[in-house]
């Protein structure tokens, strides 16, 4: 781990910003962003308490940078999930599942990525853009899959589906879903079945009537 002999650490470091982000990322993964302290972070990296403030305006900007990296990784996962050879309907399902999988693999990071404190007081434009990107990805596939739907109807389907995806991921990370899985199915199976149901509902023809 330590490339330096502990003595003779250079005054100017290679890339402190990156080192801080790496350490912060590790802390978020392990304990969440709530307890993350700028000072202990500086100490962990081996630097004075004030040093991080030359790379981040304040603690919020540090967290924001971590969140943005998370969105980048989430976006890559979304790209990997879709394929040009698959049908839009299949892509839609895989897109949803990629979000769920990311949430399960990085629960604390996702929590930070949607933390309301990040956007206050000023909602960062880049953050907002990434937060809306997830919905836009679904929107594109839904339009491709059901081009004949009216604008209004499609918006409704999209809203419902995106809510389901985000809600499922959130509830799962809060351990509000696992307590009732007596069905013997694996968590992945349950996620897949649930999301398939939601995607089918989103793709269903609007002429279907509700059974009494």
């Amino acid at each position: 781990m330590a490339a330096e002999p502990a003595e003779r650490r250079p005054y100017h470091r290679e890339d402190l910003r990156r080192d801080l982000l790496l350490a912060a990322h590790a802390h978020v993964r392990a304990h969440g962003h709530h307890g993350l302290s700028v000072r202990t972070l500086a100490q962990a990296v081996g630097v004075s308490p004030g040093a991080p403030y030359h790379h981040f305006r304040d603690r919020r900007e540090l967290l924001l940078a971590i969140a943005l990296e998370g969105y980048a990784r989430l976006g890559e996962a979304a790209v990997r999930a879709t394929s040009d050879t698959a049908s839009p309907a299949e892509n839609l399902l895989e897109l949803c599942l990629s979000f769920i999988a990311f949430a399960q693999a990085n629960p604390r990071l996702l929590e930070l990525m949607y933390e309301s404190e990040l956007t206050s007081p000023a909602p960062d434009p880049a953050l907002l853009h990434h937060q809306q990107a997830g919905r836009h990805a679904l929107q594109a596939q839904l339009e491709a899959a059901r081009p004949t739907l009216s604008e209004q109807e499609r918006t409704l389907r999209l809203l419902s589906l995106w809510s389901t995806v985000y809600g499922f991921a959130s509830l799962r990370n809060k351990h509000l879903i696992d307590p009732f899985e007596p069905s013997g199915s694996s968590p992945d199976q349950i996620a897949r079945s649930t999301l398939r149901l939601a995607v089918e509902a989103a793709l269903r023809q609007p002429t279907d009537a509700l059974a009494p």
Copy 2:
């Protein structure tokens, strides 16, 4: 506001715990729970900085108490939303909408009620119970509406619906839904339409096939 003449405040107060909760509630409603400080709260109520610690073990317990009050109010709203004369299907929709309405009326409070930091390190039993109550309420109505569904199928429907409800409320409070409402519909209309769609999907007969 001030029943006391500002001078001669009694050493022992009527019910400091209640006063603290009221002030804290007001702060949460206005600014969220993140910036809530025990000391400024004590100052606002007119008491020494250490006084609150005779009524709450620490800051987390104070927030927990506020959250529990929130759940009580949410539960009352849910009871008001359902009626014995209405059909289970109607009750199911109204139950979902009552959650959405509560979320819109008390966005900061709902955020606190599902704040992950509340459950760490020890997940409070009462809190967990209330968090699961929302799902249980839906479960009861769904069982009444579709008693013939298999246990597995019903669990799936419930999971999907509850995810949609919670997800919609969360995304809405994060202002991640309003940016695309060009349809001219009111927020209430959109919520109602979206949730109706989700409820219909949950109640649909499982024999329905997915159109290609």
